[in-house]
Symmetry: C2
DNA sequence: AAATATAAAACAATCGATTGATTAAATCAA
DNA sequence: TTGATTTAATCAATCGATTGTTTTATATTT
């Protein structure tokens, strides 16, 4: 459908302003309303550019949407990819043991949970991604291969080492999926949680509280005692 | 917006056919494509009725959507509500103990997981609900109060008794949310799981396998040994 | 001057909603 | 049970508004 899946025109550096404004505005708008939920005219107005710019730079609405998702994954999701890289580095640096893996798993899930509940870009990723789950477009592959698959694989590896099972066993991957999903869930189903708890928003303190509980349940789920790991982790910075 | 939020006209029993056909077609269509993702003409064609019937019976597209959700929750979600009622009955019939609560929690999550992954109506509920989570409309309240809140409350109660904590404590509710969310997640994020596992669909056998793993993790998460509970549960019908 | 970028206007297509006419059914007087 | 009248339901045709896209013209930069 989209005309130019290659690179964006930008023959000279002067149209970069409009492109950048469109990409920025698109992240917010598409995350909030979805591809079909917002009109090109509103998108252009939000970006402060003319409607024709969408077709001019991206070939159309679909190409624009795809470019926004690509931008979101490649540029804005850096903190998430850094997190993956950090844990992966620590994993290869330490000797392999269930305790180490569990500790890293705990760290990863905790950090990811807070990031996904609070960080603006992560919220956008989660929103678009959950929409793409229900009705996948080309954008699904971009997000999946860009952030989901690496994350999923890393968690699977940590789960495998923590439970002493093969990392490619269906059981291991299903477990990893459940753990990762828990984290995403507090973003996707935040409305329900807030209603149940009488909250209006999820503040920073609340997000950290939730992250601790998630981490604890995750550790128990892979068969290890949370307190042991947590006390040697950051000196027991929390006790829920 | 919608004209008549009260009852549907249906002055005589003759128009019931059209209404029923519209409600049936609407469940599928709205679950698949969302409110904005499908046109009234397609909806009418799918139902085999004239476009004007939508405005005639429901006052408009929004009223139609709301009626579909109401129908879905009130009529089609009966198996889910029956499940809640069954567990609730068994809970009040047995004496209060962490073991009993954990066993019931396991049963509930296991049955719910299979239902939500396989049963057609439950899939529709999960799809519409997850959409309403991201961008709530009036339909959110209908689903929330009809099935989510009762389910959430019951799980909270079971978690509270299993962990010997107050049922209205934030920690308890957050735990319940995570457990319930895990189950929903395998429906919402089934695309990712299937891709990771090289599956095309989630078959009955696979759904039951997943349900077992979820139940095991849930039991561990609330601090009990899965094997003890499962062996006294249904005579060890599964061993993953 | 040539290439690139922006802007306003117009494009065909589709959206949800409505119209007036027609058909089917129910109601009631005889 | 009739036949006349009213009500309910269905239909094709059409409404104005809005959709994504395109065109045409103008401005800016190289």
């Amino acid at each position: 459908m989209a005309k130019n899946l290659e690179s964006i025109p930008r023959k000279s550096g002067r149209g970069g302003k409009a492109i950048a404004r469109l990409l920025d505005a698109g992240v917010d708008a598409f995350a909030r309303y979805g591809l079909e939920g917002i009109a090109t005219r509103q998108l252009a107005k939000a970006a402060g550019v003319n409607v024709a710019a969408i077709a001019y730079y991206f070939g159309g609405k679909e190409g624009y949407y795809l470019a926004v998702v690509r931008h979101l994954v490649q540029e804005r999701a850096k903190p998430v990819r850094d997190l993956i890289e950090r844990i992966r580095g620590e994993l290869s640096a330490s000797r392999e043991s269930p305790e180490t893996s569990a500790r890293l798993l705990l760290q990863l899930l905790q950090d990811l949970a807070v990031t996904i509940m609070l960080k603006h870009d992560a919220v956008a990723i989660a929103s678009i991604f959950s929409r793409e789950q229900l009705r996948p477009t080309d954008a699904f592959d971009v997000i999946y291969e860009g952030v989901i698959q690496p994350m999923h694989q890393l968690v699977s590896q940590l789960v495998a080492q923590a439970t002493r099972k093969p990392p490619d066993a269906p059981e291991t991957i299903i477990r990893a999926h459940a753990l990762l999903g828990q984290v995403f869930l507090f973003r996707i189903a935040g409305t329900t949680l807030c209603r149940r708890l009488g909250w209006k928003h999820i503040t920073k303190a609340r997000a950290e509280h939730i992250a601790n509980i998630i981490a604890e349940m995750a550790c128990r789920a892979v068969g290890l005692d949370f307190r042991q790991i947590d006390s040697e982790n950051t000196g027991g910075r929390d006790e829920t």
